[in-house]
């Protein structure tokens, strides 16, 4: 598991150059600028330049000091004591201290609808000018991780007291943090301009250098149209662009630009099978379905071989290291004969005039629900269509039914679908387990990300360990049990490892990715010439 960009040779041979303005074309504009509101990974890519976090996650998944010099956890895992840096100031000149951090960590206690509400903070207490004690209501193994991402941006206390949460969300010029860049200008719907914070002297050890950032300015322009981003990079109107579709990589490289690829962490892009209703209530049909998909060749044609295949529901790089069960690799795969046999066994042994399998006069029909918004990322539309049309060979009739984001979960909760697709990026193994637990069943409220409506006791039991045990090894073991169980029962079919694919001009150096695999802070980036 390496966090280094996989296709770009390290540019360490050259000495970093200071100055310059980098123009970066992002895919979408974040809907809100407050990281606590909606945990958007795209927002993190911007906020990580503006805000420092309490701790920093290294590329190996371990946690290093950042705004906190050190921290202690009580044996019951409920009380955290943070020793804070005393040399940090916000962009507005106010100092960082325990009181400000308390203000920030108390937010989920005082505000409604924050993404961080689930972290189970019970109370916080200032125990010294630079010491803060946090008490949780239940053990939460992912608590430190939560403090390591810009989902939990540390705002200036002045901003927090003078502005409403709504204002923070709407206006990034209120994003006053302690990070290496500060917001200079914002045009809603168009661009965000960052300028170097000249006083920055508290970079975490995870960074490649110390002191202020190299770049004078970063202009982030929001350009949803893929072809426009690529055209702009190729015509030198931009230095870097977000989201290069795999098939367009040759186009970008052909124009003399560089393509950076980084595997994500969390879950792969997978298919969740609804085992509650026919035909997937039969394990054989689930396995037959899985084995009837020639994932390798589909990935090759849809993504030109850029995306690699995923073998379990946890991605290889997901922290803590080892959580990914390598032994499951190649343990399953395309086998049409086996699929046919399994279907015969399951009683789907007739074939109708159109070539679909039939049982008791009913066609082997699969309703595949999908979210029409997310299907636009990564050409999942094409992949989905290709999968659906390829399954005809085995006798499955697959119908894809789109929903928009807001109604998708509600539709799933009706328990009428057979199949749904998803992926979750997050740099902690808990995230790769949670979508398969009964607590995430959309019928029970909550976040409703369990699209297979799975209620499996084995998985649920392991999830408790994954969530609360502060011993990484215990969590790793539990996660491995879950991965095996899912494959064994055919609850889900892992498809590919999502990647962040960024295109840059050759003069861009020092591009970094965060632990989830998204673009990280522009702190280490620099422009040659």
């Amino acid at each position: 598991a390496s966090a280094a960009p996989s296709s770009k040779p390290a540019s360490s041979a050259e000495e970093p150059v200071e100055g310059g303005t980098l123009t970066y074309l992002a895919n979408t504009e974040p809907g809100t600028w407050d990281g606590q509101k909606v945990p958007s990974l795209n927002l993190n890519s911007l906020n990580s330049s503006i805000f420092d976090t309490v701790v920093a996650q290294a590329s190996d998944g371990t946690y290093k000091p950042d705004l906190a010099k050190s921290w202690k956890v009580s044996d019951d895992g409920l009380v955290y004591t943070f020793e804070l840096r005393d040399d940090v100031t916000f962009h507005d000149g106010t100092p960082f201290d325990a009181a400000v951090l308390k203000q920030n960590l108390d937010r989920p206690l005082n505000e409604v609808g924050l993404a961080t509400a689930g972290n189970a903070i019970a109370s916080t207490e200032v125990t010294g000018e630079y010491e803060l004690t946090v008490t949780l209501s239940r053990p939460n193994a992912a608590f430190i991780h939560a403090l390591s991402t810009p989902h939990w941006p540390i705002y200036s206390g002045k901003v927090l007291s003078e502005h409403t949460p709504a204002e923070l969300g709407a206006d990034p010029t209120l994003s006053i943090g302690t990070g290496p860049f500060r917001v200079k200008e914002y045009v809603k719907g168009s661009k965000l301009v960052l300028e170097r914070n000249p006083d920055y002297a508290w970079a975490p050890e995870t960074a490649a250098h110390q002191g202020p950032a190299y770049l004078d300015e970063v202009v982030v322009q929001f350009v949803p149209e893929t072809q426009a981003r690529i055209g702009a990079l190729n015509s030198k109107q931009a230095d870097a662009i977000d989201q290069v579709p795999p098939l367009n990589i040759p186009e970008v490289e052909g124009a003399g630009n560089v393509v950076l690829q980084k595997d994500n962490t969390g879950t792969p892009y997978y298919l969740a099978l609804n085992a509650n209703i026919a035909p997937f209530d039969d394990r054989n049909v689930r396995l037959a379905f899985r084995d009837a998909i020639d994932i390798d060749s589909l990935l090759k044609s849809v993504y030109g071989g850029v995306y690699s295949r995923a073998w379990t529901t946890t991605l290889p790089d997901t922290p803590p290291v080892g959580a990914y069960d390598e032994s499951l690799e190649k343990s399953w795969g395309y086998d049409l004969d086996k699929a046919q046999k399994l279907l015969d066994e399951a009683g789907w042994d007739e074939v109708d005039a159109d070539g679909y399998r039939v049982k008791d006069g009913k066609r082997l029909h699969i309703d595949w629900y999908y979210d029409s918004l997310y299907v636009q990322t990564d050409q999942r539309q094409q992949l989905g269509e290709a999968i659906a049309s390829s399954l005809k060979e085995a006798g499955f009739e697959v119908e894809r039914i789109p929903f928009d984001t807001a109604s998708f979960t509600a539709a799933i909760a009706k328990n009428e679908h057979n199949l749904a697709d998803a992926s979750r990026g997050y740099a902690d193994v808990g995230t790769s387990v949670s979508p398969f637990t009964s607590s995430a069943d959309p019928r029970k409220g909550g976040n409703g990300i369990n699209y297979g409506l799975l209620n499996d006791d084995v998985i649920d039991a392991q999830y408790v360990t994954v969530q609360t045990d502060s011993d990484p090894d215990a969590r790793i073991e539990a996660a491995k049990v879950v991965q095996a169980r899912i494959l064994d029962e055919g609850y889900a079919i892992p498809l590919y490892i999502p990647q962040k694919i960024v295109g840059t001009s050759p003069s861009v150096h020092g591009w970094t990715f965060d632990a989830v695999g998204y673009t990280d802070s522009f702190y280490d980036a620099w422009l040659s010439e």
């Binding site: 098939l247 367009n248 589909l298 044609s301 539309q381 659906a388 049309s389 390829s390 789109p402 928009d404």
Partner: protein, 288 residues
Amino acid sequence: MTASAIAAPVGTSASRRAGLPGPGVLLAMAVLAALLVVGIAPGLFTGYDPLQASPASALQAPSAVHLFGTDQLGRDVFSRVLHGAGYSLSLGLFATAIGLLGGILLGVAAGYSRGIADRVISRLLDILLAFPEVLLALILITVLGPGMSSVIWAVGIGRIPGAARLVRSQVLQVRRSSYVSSATGLGLPPLTVIARHVVPNSLGPVLVNSVLGVGVCIIFGASLSFLGLGAVPPTPEWGLMLSEARQYLSLAPWISIWPGLFITLTVVSVTVTGRWWQQRAISRRSSL
């Protein structure tokens, strides 16, 4: 979509007394007829299944095997374009029909009833006109769920207020005409007068205008596809094809050129034909 969403209310130049269709109009009619045939029975012209993906042969340039090349999933673009004719044409035709029927009902009701009823209906039309069509369509599609039939309804309902306004103004004009008072003077009961003289004479311009609207609907449908609310993949609807293909513009321009060309061709043909008809209708009425 934009402005063309309102079919141009075209006046006539008295100089052009449209009689027999000229060569351009004939060509347009021939194209339409051909498209109609293709739309009804695309299978006659191509052996490829428009939905059959064959990833191995993705993004192939036009050749003897694949006349229009293949798309990102290796589907035959020629076959998809031909099958798309049916979707796009039925979108244009049915949406127009919905707009027309609704427009006639509301328009005749508003134009013939006076006072309160007219006020209420006219106000309702104002409201519908005030509703930005794209929002109306988006909301309707979200209510009805995605799919071709929702798109048809959404686009069609969006056309009602315009058609109704036109019908109403025609009815107002016709009911004031002397042949209507002359029919009343013969002692005919009002309903007979409406059925025999008012309605038939009010419809002419509206019908003609609707022909032009067919093209407008097709374009609007394509724009909805761009916004991700039109037809549902893998439907080979032209607007959707165009929208999906735009990402491959520089890699494989043929995937987008063909559906784009066919949309333009269809709309141009519909418009040319409709305008000829309009001209003919007007000059038949006012010639001398």
